[in-house]
Symmetry: C2
């Protein structure tokens, strides 16, 4: 067995992602020691019971001595977590996160940075609709993309820090890419944020239909609706923060989505079958492109093949 | 082994559903002889090559002598198929279909009925995003609902015909329910038709974003978008017909969906996190209701666990 990438890591936030990192880091030998902290006492107790690592009583004691601190909290909580972590971190350590909005993560983490540590925001494109320390599993990141959005300030050791964080995620099975935070946020607005908003919305709409019984919606959900309910089961606080912090990109996508939907609505109203066929055929070809790109043969889909998932 | 429910069935349309019925009927002994016909010569050739049954050269020769004729064609093609089938059917035989819009199916099949046969429209709530005779598999209907929307005209043998068709679908593993066609169309508009329209639309929207490269949409599709592309890969002709023939119910759902989405959009724009949390939490509880109802432990999900599917 090779040496771990980091002798010691600290994971702040022991939910689905944080607990999966703990499990994966141990399973694949990516970290020597694993310290964990969660702001919720009950979560700390459960994380300890699960044997996820050394559960620390305070955030500061968790990050002390860590070579890499991973903030696994909702985007809106990154600023406070980073501000608490940085003064307790050792010189030259890496501060990263797993938030879905990288512009805000870069802002929050950089604001807390004091020049002694390396700030490298990151985002694993992996997850399930489950939450909590019990929901994590070590293979969550295998084959998934992990996007780093480093902000260079020319500090000494910067390149080496980026290389080590890359090696850490690769050890967990991820494929690592670097890109600009703004570009990340535009891409994820359409591939992740808008789909989640749509899923939440259609589920709510379905349950407000007076002409249909809720029991029937549940009973006959296999026709397509069920896939939306799965996505819509994701953590509400996490997603609230995503929408509030990636507002402009989400609103841009949403405006276009509504415009396109109005065109389909008009085609249905006027019996314009040619337009429907044309648009549906185009959408189908996009699916084919995704399959051809090999995206869909991955074990790590959103929620599929997740050990312990209810499906 | 018990006697088959029907000594002979005829399947018109050898796509995903038709070929799955053929496979399931043989596998579970629900039919003695299986005749098939498809309007497309190439599909007939492939169906014969797959050994799905006796592939007939004409629709009339396929239905001749059959105790039950199953029309497995798009909703818009039901009228012509029924008109061609009925005169060739034997007295007392059953004419059914698998279309997703039961009001139109009842109209089309009843218009072709001549009083000698039993018309019983039906709809299996099962499917995958795949199409064609190769896409079918015998377990597609296991655990899935099959909805019958019988229209009573008091003809002799009517109750027995309904009981036999029910037994046939139960033999294929389905859970059979009867309901009014209009009610079916209202329920399916929200649980199936609207989700498909939304999925088609978001995929098209994503690929029209100039600010994002299409390759990036494909690459990072695991964040939620991929689930939509799968639904959007469904057969365009079938879905065009669904939307055109269930127009009023779909437009009603669509209007409410857009209204609800506008409320979420406004909450995002004005930073109203409380509204987002409230709506997201509500959607999540609906998912829980579906899991509690045992809907999601079924082997027959939409596209999941489908043998030969690419996932």
């Amino acid at each position: 067995m090779t040496d771990p990438v980091f002798p010691r890591i600290a994971i702040i936030g022991a939910g689905l992602i944080g607990s999966s990192i703990a499990r994966a880091a141990r399973e694949y030998g990516a970290a020597g020691e694993i310290a964990l902290y969660d702001a919720v006492e009950d979560v700390r107790t459960r994380a300890a019971g699960l044997g996820l690592g050394e559960v620390a009583p305070t955030l500061e004691s968790a990050v002390a001595g860590a070579d890499c601190v991973l903030l696994c909290v909702p985007v809106g909580a990154l600023g406070a977590a980073a501000a608490a972590a940085v003064p307790a971190m050792k010189d030259g350590a890496i501060l990263t996160d797993v938030g879905s909005v990288k512009g805000e993560a870069a802002r929050a983490l950089s604001a807390a940075g004091d020049g002694r540590i390396h700030v490298i925001p990151g985002h694993p494109i992996a997850g399930t609709e489950q939450s909590g320390p019990e929901a994590g599993f070590p293979t969550l990141f295998r084959g998934a993309w992990h996007i780093l959005t480093p902000v260079s300030n020319g500090a000494p050791g910067e390149a080496e820090a980026l290389a080590r964080l890359t090696a850490f995620w690769q050890a967990l099975g991820a494929r690592v890419e670097s890109m600009d935070a703004a570009r990340h946020d535009r891409v994820l607005a359409i591939t992740s944020h808008l789909p989640h908003l749509i899923a939440y919305n259609i589920v709510a709409t379905a349950f407000d239909m007076e002409t249909v019984e809720q029991g029937e919606v549940v009973k006959y959900s296999a026709g397509g609706f069920r896939d939306f309910t799965r996505i819509a089961a994701s953590d509400p606080v996490m997603w609230r923060d995503v929408f509030l912090h990636n507002r402009d990109a989400v609103l841009e996508c949403l405006g276009r989505f509504s415009e396109d939907l109005a065109a389909l609505q008009r085609a249905i109203r006027w019996g314009d079958g040619d337009t429907l066929i044309r648009e549906f055929t185009r959408a189908r070809s996009i699916r084919k492109a995704i399959i051809d790109a090999g995206q869909d043969s991955r074990a790590v889909n959103f929620g599929r093949n997740a050990p312990g998932a209810e499906e």
